[in-house]
């Protein structure tokens, strides 16, 4: 019954799209149109000499560099090093963030004590911590991990906290009517109710951690990793290597996004009507 109604609604929603579609049979390819045009312009500029190839390499040069790097120069191990660093920092920062967010959401006292501090912390740019972190933890692996964890911590904390705080009053009242104790309230109402917020936080933390991984690799000591290779590309004037790394970073970020989105849809399927 519901599904047939939904089908009709989908039809209604899609119908005008079909009329407007540039390529009527493949409306799903439309998001690719602008990137393809930009890449084409890039190719033309690089080949016709409109742009200096030392600063804007051709796409095939980047592709050749990619094949070479992966096959011979160990870009795979750099990639693995970056990913390992990223995930470790993410796990540490996000766990602390979610845990503290839950504590703040549940305890009025803790919220009063810590919220001014956390609010102030939010106003400080992440990169402002770099000098301090490198002095306290060094520019090596420990410093990098702290930096990445700090990046993942903030969105995980804020969204979890808001998630618990945002549980509607009527559900708190329901928990009283059903004579719930603290445990029942947490398990049946607060945690599942905060889950969308927690996911938003984890999703953002995943992206923040990845961007700050490169940041840490570029700003702190040089070490194996994508950032390290970019440093190398800059110093040796391997512009194609730089572009290759940028592409890889974007690609991995997108993969993270897809994974997080899929996990969210799967775990929050009750939100679908």
């Amino acid at each position: 019954m519901t599904s047939s109604v939904m089908d009709v609604r989908n039809e209604l929603v899609r119908a005008p799209d079909r009329k407007l579609a540039v390529a009527p049979s493949t409306p799903r390819l439309r998001p690719l149109i602008v990137p393809i045009i930009l890449l084409a312009l890039w190719e033309i500029a690089a080949h016709t000499g409109l742009a200096d190839p030392r600063f804007l390499p051709t796409l095939e040069a980047i592709a050749v560099r990619g094949v070479k790097e992966f096959a011979e120069d160990g870009l795979t191990s750099d990639l693995t090093a970056s990913l390992a660093r990223d995930l470790l920092g993410f796990v540490v920062g996000a766990s602390v963030g979610v845990a503290l967010g839950l504590a703040l959401g549940f305890s009025r006292l803790l919220e009063r004590l810590l919220s001014p501090l956390l609010l102030a912390h939010r106003q400080i740019a992440l990169f402002a911590w770099v000098p301090l972190i490198s002095m306290w933890f060094g520019g090596g692996e420990a410093g990098k991990l702290v930096f990445i964890a700090l990046a993942a911590f903030q969105p995980a904390l804020t969204n979890t906290w808001q998630g618990v705080a945002g549980i509607p009053k009527i559900y708190r009242e329901l928990s009283r009517v059903l004579t719930y104790d603290g445990w029942d309230f947490a398990v049946v109402i607060a945690l599942p109710g905060a889950l969308p917020g927690i996911f938003t936080g984890l999703h953002a933390a995943l992206i923040y951690a990845w961007t700050s991984t490169v940041g840490a690799e570029l700003l702190l000591d040089i070490a194996p990793g994508i950032g390290g290779r970019m440093n190398e590309g800059q110093h040796l004037f391997h512009i194609d290597l730089l572009f290759l790394c940028v592409f890889l970073l974007g690609l991995i970020g997108m993969v993270f996004n897809l994974i997080a989105g899929a996990a969210e849809r799967r775990l929050l399927r009750w939100r679908r009507s």
Binding site: T2, P192, W270
Partner: protein
Amino acid sequence: MSSLAQTFDSDAVKHPLLRIQDVSKAFIVSDRRVQALSHVDLDVEQGEFVSIVGASGCGKSTLLRLILGLDTDYEGAIRLEGRRIERPGLDRSIVFQEHRLLPWLTVEANVGAALRQIKGSGAEKRARVEAQLHLVGLQSFAKAYPAQLSGGMAQRVAIARALVTNPKFLLLDEPLGALDALTRLRLQDELLRIVRNRGATAILVTHDVDEAVYLGDRIVIMSPHPGRIASVLPVPKEMSRDRSDPAFLRLRDDVLTRLGVNKAAAVYDRLLEIPNEQRVH
């Protein structure tokens, strides 16, 4: 009250199940004192279905909150089986106007959520939930999520959740108020059947006078500013639950008149009178 009277009272042959004695309750709204309830007295007998009607602001819902034990800051006393109500308890349950189902739980888990503080094996609880869903006709929707249900179905799940604990007292706070007219009529019959079958005691707060007369054994009419009981009308036992029965209509009009909405009734009467006047002339 003397101690002798108290002893006598607690030993009385038959207590009313619920006794509301001289209950007053005030709120402070932006530095002004608003008297939500003023000297409310009401006894509800075991197995009785009491309808409370009244304009908004007459304190109907406040009274339900006090009976639930969500708010204990009031004057007077509310006793359930002689014991003062101090906190929410599973001997009382409520169906709110909005269903208040937890969107992340399936239908059966929502009903089962009311049993968490009740002792018993998982299998036993599952059987109770299943029986309850059967009673409201939703056994085939046990695994559905609230977002997949219509308003009427969701409210039936809320009714099942309120009944699964086997409460002595069922509080209904405009439970059908948000539903369309047809669903409301159907659910009124369902409520009547379910409550009668169990011999449960119920208080229904409603805006709908028709519903109050249709479901109630007694109709409590409340008036606002300050919220108080204006009158209590018994619904004759022998009166049929037929909405077009003259006795039903008379009672309904009586309630409406007491609520100050007698316009419709007056027009109706005048229409009936015209032929008589013509006959005279």
